[in-house]
């Protein structure tokens, strides 16, 4: 009797467990569905404004394009015609200069932090400050450029702009470099050590090389970011309607020009703002795509293979 009883109890128990499991599985599946739908909706929600941006910029920007627009100087406020030549030139100069200052410093800092520093108080301090710097608003960097350089030189200048932008760039680049180098598997480094290669050689030719696609992506992201920065330029390079006249003088830049144009109540100015926006997007995207293709052709796109 008692054995029989125990058996049925066990069977009952099993059935109960089975029911609970089925119920749980069903619940889990429903939750799974909800989460999936939520994720897809998020993608759609994000894509709508982004496609709209591209469509509007292209649609309205094309109208402004002509030779005069690309090379000419801005016309007087309220008058049609004129162009953004100085702004294009100024953006190229300021961003190029900032990259030349910022990228090497950033990459070297990243290499130091990842390969040589370890976890002492000083490297951790550097890391900490880097992280904090990444989050600092760009407008504050503009103020720094203004106080340190504009006031000392006595005029708004290319140097001040490039300086501000490079401060924005350094923490980004060094962070990305460090993170990317950390992902490189230790076995690769150990293989190098096992062959008796010096540490700097391992770092340069093995670790750095296998991480270069990630680092380049970081640099390009940083360039793209500073190319579109407007706020720090307001208080450093000021903006002008003249072409480049010297490193100690104000220059114009595309984002700055867009801002000034968009705040004018004239149709022609707004069209030009869209045109300049299209130009800026094209520059930034061309940079990204070109480097990506280059990285792929050279065969060091690490991430795509994972």
């Amino acid at each position: 009797m008692s054995g029989n009883n125990g058996k049925s109890a066990a069977r009952f128990h099993r059935r109960e467990v089975q029911q609970i499991m089925v119920k749980n599985a069903r619940k889990a599946k429903i939750i799974d569905k909800i989460v999936s739908i939520f994720a897809i909706m998020c993608v759609i929600l994000a894509v709508i404004p982004l496609t709209s941006i591209l469509i509007e910029v292209i649609k309205n920007g094309i109208a402004a394009f002509n030779w005069d627009f690309l090379t000419g100087r801005p016309s007087a406020i309220g008058r049609a015609g004129g162009g953004v030549g100085p702004a294009i030139q100024g953006t190229l100069i300021v961003v190029g200069l900032a990259t030349m200052i910022g990228a090497p410093i950033g990459i070297l800092t990243g290499i130091y932090l990842s390969e040589f520093a370890g976890g002492g108080p000083f490297p951790n301090g550097v890391r900490f400050f880097n992280e904090v710097m990444t989050g600092l608003p760009s407008v504050v960097m503009g103020i720094v450029g203004y106080i340190l350089i504009v006031i000392n030189i006595g005029s708004f200048s290319v140097w001040a702009g490039a300086f501000s932008l490079s401060i924005i760039m350094i923490p980004i680049v060094s962070r990305v470099t460090e993170e990317t180098l950390k992902i490189v598997p230790n076995s690769i480094r150990e293989a190098g050590f096992a062959l008796g290669i010096a540490k700097w050689k391992i770092t340069l030719f093995i670790t750095f090389k296998s991480a270069i696609s990630g680092i380049l992506t970081g640099v390009v992201l940083a360039i793209a970011r500073i190319a579109g920065e407007t706020a720090p330029l307001i208080m450093t390079i000021l903006g002008t309607s003249l072409f480049f006249t010297g490193f100690n003088n104000p220059v114009d830049a595309l984002p700055l020009r867009i801002w000034r144009l968009s705040s004018q109540p004239y149709e022609s100015a707004q069209t030009q703002a869209w045109g300049a926006a299209l130009l800026l997007i094209l520059m930034v995207l061309a940079l990204s795509v070109a480097l990506r293709l280059l990285a792929q052709r050279r065969g060091f796109s690490v991430r795509a293979e994972i």
Binding site: I40, L50, M133, T134, G228
Partner: protein, 289 residues
């Protein structure tokens, strides 16, 4: 470097703090007329915090959804171009978001979101103002659009770094996709996701030009938002608006003082985030092998 930054801003901001003292932070008036100058930063601090909070509330969940879709759900054929697009969009400059928001998006927000909210829910004090399109709410939404690519692309990177063994372990125990995410992936990636969100928050707080274009640029006590549809002003946008037109040294210094507050605010956020992240890293089992 950071010390240099702090020093420079501190030096520039000294005159206003010595002239106004702590009052600078809590006063609300803003008068640059020579001889009657008085500056108070409170409305702009509120404007900054409110618009960023709106941006985070909208932006973070959506970014998470995108990152999950790209890494965990979509097939390779969809996810590669999609993540490529997201990466490119992270590169779209904020001035372009601003231009688009000013000439296109604000009418969408006004007609599709704000007006219905105003008409049907105006008994809630938040919504009780005739919407105009250039206000804190729009600024928050556009900020969220701007930070979505940033947060989601970083989150995607983090989810990609999560080792496949984590996923396989969960799937082999019969977990659904959500179960896998919850039990195997999120604990592993939590600190990174949090870091990504705070990076987004940092950008939202410091974002200048976009906010300048759409927040409505109110000044003085009027800039304290009473509803979500009020015109406001953030710290950064006021700096951008008035920096080149600063009438006096004290005015300039007041603007730099706003910059100092902004600096302090974002440093507190960043340091706080940093501590949270490092505490979580210790909790996460395994960590990076």
């Amino acid at each position: 470097m950071l010390i240099l930054v702090a020093f420079a801003v501190g030096e520039g901001a000294l005159p206003i703090f010595s002239a106004e003292g702590f009052q600078f932070v809590i006063r609300t008036d803003w008068n640059a007329v020579y001889g009657r100058e008085s500056f108070g930063a409170l409305p702009y601090i509120i404007g900054t915090l409110l618009s960023s909070a709106i941006a985070m509330a909208i932006g973070v969940p959506i970014s998470l959804g995108i990152a999950i879709f790209v890494t965990e759900m979509a097939s390779h054929r969809i996810s590669t171009p999609l993540s490529f697009v997201v990466e490119l969009l992270a590169a779209v400059p904020s001035i372009i978001y601003g231009l688009w928001a000013l000439f296109v998006f604000r009418f969408w927000v006004r007609d599709l979101i704000e007006r219905p909210l105003y008409e049907h829910l105006n008994w809630i004090p938040f919504f009780d103002k005739t919407p105009f399109g250039l206000d804190i709410f729009t600024a928050g939404i556009v900020l969220s659009i701007m930070i979505i690519p940033i947060i989601s692309s970083i989150t995607r990177e983090i989810l990609l770094v999560v080792p496949n063994s984590q996923r396989e372990a969960a799937y082999s125990l019969g977990a659904t996709r959500w179960g896998t995410l919850k039990t195997a992936i999120f604990p592993y990636a939590k600190s990174g996701i949090l870091g990504a969100s705070f990076l987004g928050l940092g950008r939202a707080i410091g974002e200048t030009i976009l906010v300048t274009m759409i927040i409505g640029n109110a000044i003085g006590p009027a800039a304290i938002p009473t509803t979500l549809f009020s015109q406001g002003q953030s710290l950064a946008s006021l700096i951008a608006n008035e920096f080149n037109e600063a009438a006096s040294d004290l005015h300039l210094s007041a603007l730099i003082g706003l910059g100092a507050i902004l600096l302090l605010l974002s440093m507190i956020i960043n340091i706080g985030a940093r501590f949270m992240v490092s505490r979580m890293v210790k909790v996460v089992p395994g960590g990076r092998e």
